[in-house]
């Protein structure tokens, strides 16, 4: 059968010693980049691109790809250990993962993150192999109207992120929308909310925002606590997830994989959105949603699965149609061009070595990453036992460095500090940062899709309801919204009824 032939051919390419070597180098660097807050796979891949000039295109792509999905593994490490997202796709992991670490369960958290990433990544690769062609056709059906409805669905999920006050969470979302829209308006070409600063024309960076809001604020809150923070654990007993953990994580991993895979295929979807969606879905379908935000392992397993699935799925548009679904894919596109390969629909046919070799190497890469990350858990947990007084200055310094190297811009540092102070104040008054970040990520695509759809339809709003995919997404969004409100309505009625009874 042709598929098996291709797979075998792919593995024969992937097992060539230089591909194995560069795959390892790639995933190793990727993990390191992921752990370091700030610098992301995009920056690292661009810097390392010249190294690939002298080697074959397959080897080059194998290494660069390894950096990308490797970073998804590494990003969860800092999120869990110190609450600073190492990657924007690990922001959600910082919510429950860090709480688990504070409860002495950093080991299981890291373990489940690694395993979820591995399982989801592997399944996604299978999906890539089997369904690339029909899936990408489906992805192409997503026009501006569909993207708008999808983003709206994402915003509704946001309501599930709220832990305490829904009102405050919605307020944070609105702030996130404004921050997300800051920059150059793509439709008019005019700047918005940039205060005449050219550095802001491309918008506020998610890294300074997330690192400040989550990480720096956490440091500030800890620094003022007079009780000497014995970070975490006296004795870490289990370094790995126990059976209960696995039971709690199985379904989230499954759901996360599907969500990540589907969202990752869509150009503009990506790992950040999918991780947030997974978290929201897990909280929605959890038996005890109040546990979320306090160390629910499902809140780590789901998002970590989905961000890896999304990372793998992101290769589909690139390899089958030459469409870069994100900035990372844009660099891979450049790498292909440098090596004389023209991306596009004929890539699969013209370059089977590349296509199947890269896919096969992703399996190998994921195994390497699991083998790399699991033993490191013991090391990371031991790191946590370093006294906080020594730890936090180093963390702060690394975060500042990481934020700086993204753009070489001091503004990013000021932003990170500013958002850190804002986050510190917000958390004191119980305003949650997670809805802000989700809205921040969704707003630009939501808005541009809305306006593009209306330009195409000539101002006709029915376009969102007439197109089948868009309509389906809107219906799901409406159902989710209702199901969020109805229980609270019912409990309200019960409250009123109970009080009425009391008074009689």
């Amino acid at each position: 059968m042709e598929l098996t032939e291709n797979i075998i051919h792919g593995f024969s390419v992937a097992f060539q010693w230089q591909n194995l070597l560069f795959c390892f180098v790639g995933v190793l660097i990727g993990t390191l980049i992921g752990v370091l807050p700030g610098l992301g796979p995009v920056g690292a891949m661009a810097i390392l691109l010249p190294i690939t000039y002298g080697i074959s295109p397959v080897t080059a792509i194998v290494m660069l790809a390894g950096i990308y999905y490797g970073a998804q593994y590494g990003g969860s490490t800092t999120s869990i250990l110190v609450g600073i997202p190492g990657e924007s796709s690990s922001v959600v992991t910082a919510l429950d993962g860090y709480q688990m670490a504070l409860q002495g369960r950093a080991g299981p958290a890291l373990g489940i993150a690694a395993f979820s990433s591995f399982i989801a990544g592997t399944i996604a690769i299978v999906g890539l192999m089997l369904m690339a062609a029909p899936l990408v056709k489906f992805a192409l059906k997503f026009g501006p109207a569909e993207y708008f409805s999808l983003m709206l669905l994402g915003l509704i999920i946001l309501t599930y992120l709220a832990q305490k006050s829904m009102v405050k969470a919605l307020m944070m979302a609105a702030i996130g929308v404004v921050l997300g829209l800051a920059g150059l308006d793509s439709i008019t070409g005019m700047p918005r909310f940039t205060g005449d600063m050219p550095e802001l024309l491309d918008g506020i960076g998610i890294a300074p925002l997330a690192m400040g809001l989550f990480g720096v604020s956490e440091i500030l809150l800890n620094v003022e606590r007079q009780i000497k923070r014995s970070v975490v654990v006296k004795r870490v007993k289990n370094l790995l997830p126990n059976r209960q953990d696995w039971k709690d994580s199985a379904a989230p991993i499954g759901r996360g994989t599907i969500i990540g895979f589907l969202v990752g295929i869509l150009p503009g979807g990506g790992t950040v959105l999918s991780s947030f969606l997974s978290y929201g879905v897990e909280k929605r379908f959890a038996k005890d949603p109040e546990k979320f935000g306090k160390g629910a392992i499902a809140g780590v397993a789901g998002p970590e699965a989905s961000n890896n699935a999304a990372a793998q799925a992101g290769f589909i548009p690139l390899l089958s149609l030459g469409i870069p679904a994100s900035a990372v894919m844009g660099i891979l596109l450049g790498a292909l061009l440098i090596h004389g390969i023209q991306p596009g629909p004929l890539l699969m046919k013209n370059e089977p070595d590349l296509f199947w070799g890269v896919i096969a190497s992703m399996y190998i890469g994921n195994i390497m990453l699991l083998v790399l990350n699991l033993p490191m858990i013991g090391l990371w947990v031991r790191l946590l036992m370093v006294p906080y007084s020594i730890l936090f200055p180093i963390i702060l310094f690394v975060a500042l460095t990481g934020a700086f190297v993204i753009n070489g811009s001091l503004l990013d540092l000021y932003l990170m500090l500013g958002f850190g102070v804002l986050g510190y104040l917000m958390r004191k008054f119980e305003y949650e940062p997670a809805p802000l970040i989700l809205a921040f990520v969704l707003a630009p695509l939501l808005e541009i899709s809305l306006r593009q759809s209306l330009i195409i339809s000539g101002g006709d709003v029915s376009v969102f309801f007439v197109r089948p995919i868009s309509l389906t997404l809107l219906v799901i969004a409406a159902l989710l919204l209702l199901s969020a409100l109805v229980p609270s309505l019912r409990s309200k009625r019960q409250q009123i009824a109970a009080r009425a009874e009391e008074e009689t």
Binding site: V167, V177, V178, D185, L220, E224, L400, V405, L417, V461
Partner: protein, 153 residues
């Protein structure tokens, strides 16, 4: 002064500013939204939520009792302020003294003055950490760190 109430007023001002700027950007029409369309909605939402929170400070028992001192009781908040100031100084000085020197200064000051660690720890750890990080970013990752006016390193 009720803390939550004051905060809600701050948000009200923020929302108002957003709405004002959005209006200046042009709202367009429902069929052809302009640059300020969505921000205006967001700004309006902020104001609305701010009003709701304000009202809640009268109806909700917990919020009616919120005081600023509650949130900072028992905390050593001057340390947080100092940390912010030190970080700010770091950002300002990084291009004058160079990354290497400024980073070491920041870490030494935090460890010695703020955290009261021993001189040995306060000097050795920063030097080791900064050197390693510097090497990592400049040699391995080939990035450029500010050299400062003095042009060190």
């Amino acid at each position: 002064m009720n803390a939550e109430r004051l905060v809600s007023l701050v948000w009200l001002i923020v929302g108002g500013a957003v709405m004002h700027t959005s209006y200046g950007l042009g709202l367009g029409t429902g069929g052809e939204p302009g640059s300020g369309f969505l921000p205006m909605i967001a700004g309006g939402f902020i104001c609305l939520m701010a009003v709701v929170i304000y009202v809640q400070t009268y109806t909700n028992k917990q919020m009616a009792q919120s005081r600023f001192s509650d949130h900072w009781r028992g905390t050593d908040w001057p340390r947080a302020v100092i940390l912010v100031v030190l970080t700010l100084a770091f950002i300002v000085l990084i291009e004058i003294l160079g990354y290497f020197v400024t980073s070491i200064l920041l870490l030494v000051i935090i460890m010695k003055a703020l955290e009261k660690l021993s001189w040995l720890k306060s000097i050795v750890i920063p030097i080791v950490t900064v050197t390693l990080t510097y090497l990592l970013f400049t040699s391995m990752l080939d990035t450029n760190m500010p050299r400062g006016v003095i042009g060190l390193w």
